[in-house]
Structures are given as structure tokens and as C-alpha cells.
Symmetry: C2
Subunit: 112 residues, 2 copies
């Protein structure tokens, strides 16, 4: 058995960025977003549904994604989300902020 994927419990705040980045490539439904993040992280990140759905609601409320009922390739009903123009801007903002923050943390960790 492989390692269990980690919960995202050490990096709250990065979830929005991960979702926006995922949707910046393909429109997807919630369940598909979880699977994409898990697979593309090399089975390291597991997004709990109790984190995901509130996050999707947050993002939609902020106008960064748009959801609409549709059908998956599996013929299942699902809410398909796509990123908006504002969402792309927000992704850019959060990506830069994340890069600055991890750089700052790296500096502290390496400081003498």
C-alpha cells in the first residue's frame, strides 16, 4: 500500500489557489477537481469534500468561478465550474503572494 495522501492541514489558504489553477486549464466539476489535485500532486494532496464545497461557494461568491449544472463524461449530473476573468487575475495575485511567502519562509529557514 502506498502512502496515504496528506490532508491539506498545513497550508490553509492555498486551497483557493489550487482550485483556481486547476480550473485555469479545464472546466471541471468538484469531484474532478479533487481527483486532478490528488493525481497531479503525486498522490500527496487530498482535498476533503468538507473543504472543497465551501471553497467552491466562496470562490463563486467572489466572482472568481462560475458554476452550472451539466453532465460529466460518465453521464452523471454535476456542477461544472469554469474560471472567470476576475478569477484569472486572482490566481495571478495569489500565485505571486504564495511565491513571496515561500521565499520569505525559505530565507528564515536558511538564515544564520
Amino acid at each position: 500500500m502506498g502512502r496515504k495522501p496528506q490532508k491539506n492541514d498545513s497550508l490553509p489558504g492555498s486551497l483557493d489557489m489550487l482550485i483556481l489553477r486547476t480550473l485555469s486549464r479545464h472546466s471541471l466539476h468538484g469531484y474532478g477537481i479533487v481527483q486532478f489535485i490528488q493525481q497531479s500532486s503525486g498522490n500527496e494532496l487530498l482535498i476533503e469534500e468538507g473543504s472543497l464545497y465551501p471553497a467552491l461557494q466562496r470562490l463563486e461568491l467572489n466572482g472568481w468561478i462560475d458554476g452550472a449544472w451539466g453532465v460529466t463524461p460518465n453521464n452523471r449530473k454535476a456542477r461544472i465550474y469554469k474560471i472567470t476573468a476576475a478569477g484569472r487575475k486572482q490566481l495571478n495575485v495569489e500565485t505571486k503572494k504564495y511565491a513571496k511567502l515561500t521565499l520569505a519562509i525559505a530565507r528564515v529557514m536558511e538564515a544564520q
Copy 2:
């Protein structure tokens, strides 16, 4: 005027690691920890006192740091904290976990 240092509001959970890493070099008091992190991060990270002191209590409760009343080089009374052996182990654990997590996030961000 320079940029304002960021609050740590995007990476909760990293605060404990930053404190442990700081104390792994020098024993310090709370106020000094804040200053060290701010300076060594290139003025990017600002730890609020309302985050710091509860964090120090957490870490001490877990046996990862030891606090004792003493005097700073400025002749001020202060609680001087030093890292314990268990704290060094914990720092190692958290550092590895952080590295794995940021790598996993990077994979998602760069995935096609």
C-alpha cells in the same frame, strides 16, 4: 516607505516551524523571535503578538521549547525560550513535511 511586511495569514501552521527554527540557533525571548523572523525574511514576514504568544504556549505545552524568566541584553525582563531535544525532532519533522507539501503544491501548479 518600504513595503509593509505581510501577515502570516496564508500559511498557518508554518509559524511553529519558524519559531522552532529560530530557537534552534539562539535562545531568544518572544519579542526577539518576532524581530529575527522579520529581519531574516527580508522584512516580508510579520508575526503578530497575538499569534506569537499563544504559539509559544502551545510549543511549551508540547515540550518542544522551555521558557524561563531572564534578562535581555537591553536589561529588560523577558521570558527566554530555548529549544528542547524533542523540539529539534519536531523541527525536523515539520521541515520535511513542509518540503513535501510545497513540492506537492508546486506539482499541481505546474501540471499540464
